[in-house]
C-alpha cells in the first residue's frame, strides 16, 4: 500500500509531463532564438531614452495655438466616418445575406464569405495606401478604406445573426406564397434589426477611431494633421492633437455605449 501524500501540490497546467516539458522547452528556445537574432542595435535603443526625453520635453506643454487646423481635421474625420458608415452598412446588408448559410445558395455563400475574409484580413492602413494610390490623396480614399473596413466587421456579425434567426416565420411566409423580397422584409429584417442598429452605432464609433489612423498615409482627416505635425517636429502640436483624439474617442465610446444600451 502506498503511503498517503502528506503535502498537497497544485496540479500542473498540462498533465502529461512529456508534452509539458516539450512545450516549455520549445517556447524557451523560440524566444531565446528570436531575441538573439532580432536585428536590434542596442546602442540606438540606449540613445533612444535620451531622445525620448527631448521629444517629451518638446511636447510639453501641448500647444493649442493652431486649434483651427485641429477642428478642421476633426470635422473631416467625422465626415469620413459618417459617409463610410452609411456606405459600409448599406453594402454590408446584401453581403451579409450572401454569407448566411441558411438564406443563400452554396456558391453565393462562398462568394459572400470570401468578400468578408478579404475585407477583414487587411489592416485599414494597407487598404488606405492602395486607395490613395488609385484615387489620389484626401478624404475620398479614407471613405473608401473605411467602407471596406466596415464591411469586414458589420457583414460578418450580421451574417452570424441571420444564421441564428427563427426560421419558422420565413417558412410561414414561404408557405403563404410570399415573394422573396417580402419574406426578407417581413420575416428576416424584424429579427435582425436590433443587432443591425447596434452594429451601425458601434461601427460609426469604430470608423471615427480608424479615420485618425488612415490619415497618416494620406487618406484625409485628423491623422493627416497629426502626421504633418510629427513630420515637422512640432511635438507640442502633435501632443495637443493626440490629447484631443483620446478625448474624442472616449466621448464617442461613451455616447455609443449609451445608445446601444437603450437599443438592445
Amino acid at each position: 500500500m502506498t503511503a498517503a501524500r502528506d503535502t498537497w501540490k497544485r496540479p500542473p497546467f498540462i498533465s502529461n509531463p512529456v508534452v509539458r516539458w516539450t512545450v516549455y522547452i520549445v517556447a524557451i528556445v523560440y524566444f531565446g532564438w528570436v531575441a538573439a537574432t532580432m536585428p536590434i542595435d542596442w546602442q540606438r535603443v540606449i540613445d533612444g531614452f535620451g531622445r525620448a526625453g527631448l521629444i517629451f520635453g518638446g511636447a510639453f506643454p501641448p500647444s493649442f495655438e493652431r486649434s483651427g487646423l485641429l477642428i478642421d481635421g476633426f470635422l473631416e474625420s467625422l465626415k469620413i466616418a459618417i459617409l463610410a458608415t452609411a456606405g459600409g452598412v448599406l453594402l454590408s446588408i446584401p453581403i451579409a445575406f450572401m454569407a448566411a448559410r441558411n438564406v443563400a445558395p452554396l456558391p453565393i455563400y462562398y462568394l459572400g464569405r470570401f468578400i468578408i475574409i478579404v475585407a477583414r484580413s487587411f489592416h485599414p492602413v494597407i487598404v488606405a495606401i492602395i486607395f490613395v494610390k488609385a484615387v489620389g490623396f484626401g478624404p475620398f480614399a479614407g471613405v473608401l478604406t473605411l467602407i471596406v473596413y466596415s464591411i469586414g466587421f458589420v457583414a460578418k456579425m450580421l451574417a452570424e445573426r441571420i444564421e441564428e434567426i427563427d426560421f419558422g416565420q420565413v417558412e410561414a411566409m414561404r408557405a403563404a406564397g410570399v415573394p422573396y423580397l417580402s419574406t426578407v422584409f417581413y420575416a428576416i429584417f424584424p429579427q435582425i434589426m436590433p443587432r443591425q442598429i447596434g452594429l451601425t452605432i458601434y461601427q460609426l464609433d469604430s470608423n471615427l477611431r480608424a479615420s485618425a489612423v488612415v490619415g497618416i498615409v494620406g487618406a484625409g482627416g485628423i491623422g493627416a494633421t497629426l502626421a504633418n505635425a510629427f513630420g515637422r517636429y512640432d511635438y507640442d502640436f502633435a501632443l495637443a492633437i493626440t490629447i484631443v483624439i483620446v478625448a474624442v474617442i472616449l466621448l464617442s465610446e461613451g455616447i455609443s455605449g449609451q445608445i446601444r444600451k437603450r437599443v438592445a
Binding site: I126, I129, A134, V217, A227
Partner: protein, 269 residues
C-alpha cells in the same frame, strides 16, 4: 373568430404604432441630414470620384499577375513579422498582469492605485498602434524595436482591461478562505485568484496575438519593421506585381493566424 380590431384595437394591421413611426421618421431624417452635411462639405474632387472604378480596375490590372521572384525575402520578413507580433504579445502579457491587478476594484490596494491602473489602460487603448509606432520610431529610430514596443504599448491596455474585468468577477470565497488561514498576499494571488482568471488569461492572450499579427503587418509603413517595409518599397517603386505578392502573403498569414488561434482556443478552453 375575433376580428383584427378586437384583437389589436385597430382596424388594419400595421407594423408600427403612430408613435413608433414618428420616431423612425425622426431618426431617418437625422441620419439623412448627417449624410447630406458630410457629402456637401467634404473636400473631395468629384471628378476623381467618378473616375475611381476605372482607376481601381487599372491598378488591379497592373498587379496581375503577381510577381514571385522576391518570394524568398518576402517570406523571411513575413517570419520576422510573426516574431514581432509574438514577442510583443508575450512581453505585453507580462506587463499587463500588474496593471490588471491595479485596475481591478477588488484587488487594488487603494484609490490612487486604482486610478493609476485605469489611467494606464485608457491611455494605452486610446492611442492606435500606428500612432505609438510613429512615436517610437522617432525615439528608437526605424527598426523592429520601435515595432515591438509600439505593439506592446497598445496591447497592455487591451489585455489589462479584459483581465481586470475577469478579476473583478471572481468568486471571493477562495480568497477569503486563504486569507483566513493567514496566507501571504502572494499566496492568495497564486492560489485563489490566478486559477480563476486562467481561462480568460489564455483566451485574451490568444485573441490579442491574432490581432497583433494583423497590426504588425502595417508597422513597416511608418518604419517600425516587418512586412510593411517591403510593401511600401514595392508601392513606391510602382512595382505593382510584387505588391500583389506581398498582399497575398499578408492574406495567407492572417488566415493561418486565425486558424492557429481558433485551434489553440479550442484546445485550451
Amino acid at each position: 373568430m375575433s376580428t383584427i380590431s378586437e384583437q389589436f384595437g385597430r382596424d388594419e394591421w400595421t407594423r408600427f404604432t403612430p408613435k413608433q413611426r414618428m420616431q423612425r421618421y425622426g431618426i431617418f431624417a437625422l441620419t439623412a441630414l448627417a449624410i447630406a452635411w458630410a457629402l456637401s462639405s467634404i473636400e473631395v474632387i468629384w471628378a476623381w470620384v467618378w473616375d475611381a472604378p476605372s482607376q481601381m480596375g487599372d491598378l488591379f490590372g497592373r498587379m496581375y499577375p503577381p510577381d514571385a521572384t522576391n518570394l524568398g525575402s518576402i517570406l523571411r520578413i513575413l517570419w520576422e513579422t510573426v516574431n514581432i507580433a509574438t514577442f510583443a504579445t508575450v512581453l505585453a502579457v507580462f506587463m499587463s498582469l500588474p496593471v490588471a491587478y491595479l485596475a481591478a476594484q477588488n484587488t487594488t490596494p487603494n484609490r490612487v492605485t486604482l486610478w493609476l491602473g485605469r489611467l494606464i489602460l485608457v491611455t494605452s487603448r486610446s492611442v492606435n498602434t500606428i500612432i505609438w509606432a510613429l512615436l517610437f520610431v522617432a525615439i528608437f529610430g526605424p527598426g523592429v524595436v520601435a515595432g515591438i514596443v509600439a505593439i506592446m504599448f497598445r496591447s497592455i491596455g487591451f489585455i489589462g482591461k479584459l483581465l481586470g474585468e475577469a478579476i473583478e468577477e471572481i468568486d471571493k470565497r477562495p480568497v477569503e478562505a486563504l486569507e483566513a488561514t493567514g496566507a501571504s498576499r502572494f499566496k492568495v494571488i497564486a492560489y485563489a485568484i490566478v486559477p480563476q482568471v486562467m481561462p480568460t488569461f489564455w483566451a485574451v492572450s490568444i485573441l490579442r496575438w491574432d490581432i497583433n499579427l494583423r497590426e504588425s503587418t502595417v508597422l513597416g509603413l511608418v518604419g517600425a519593421g516587418g512586412i510593411g517595409i517591403i510593401l511600401q518599397g514595392a508601392i513606391d517603386t510602382f512595382n505593382w506585381p510584387e505588391a500583389a505578392t506581398v498582399l497575398l502573403a499578408i492574406l495567407a498569414l492572417v488566415i493561418v493566424g486565425e486558424i492557429v488561434s481558433a485551434f489553440l482556443r479550442r484546445r485550451i478552453l
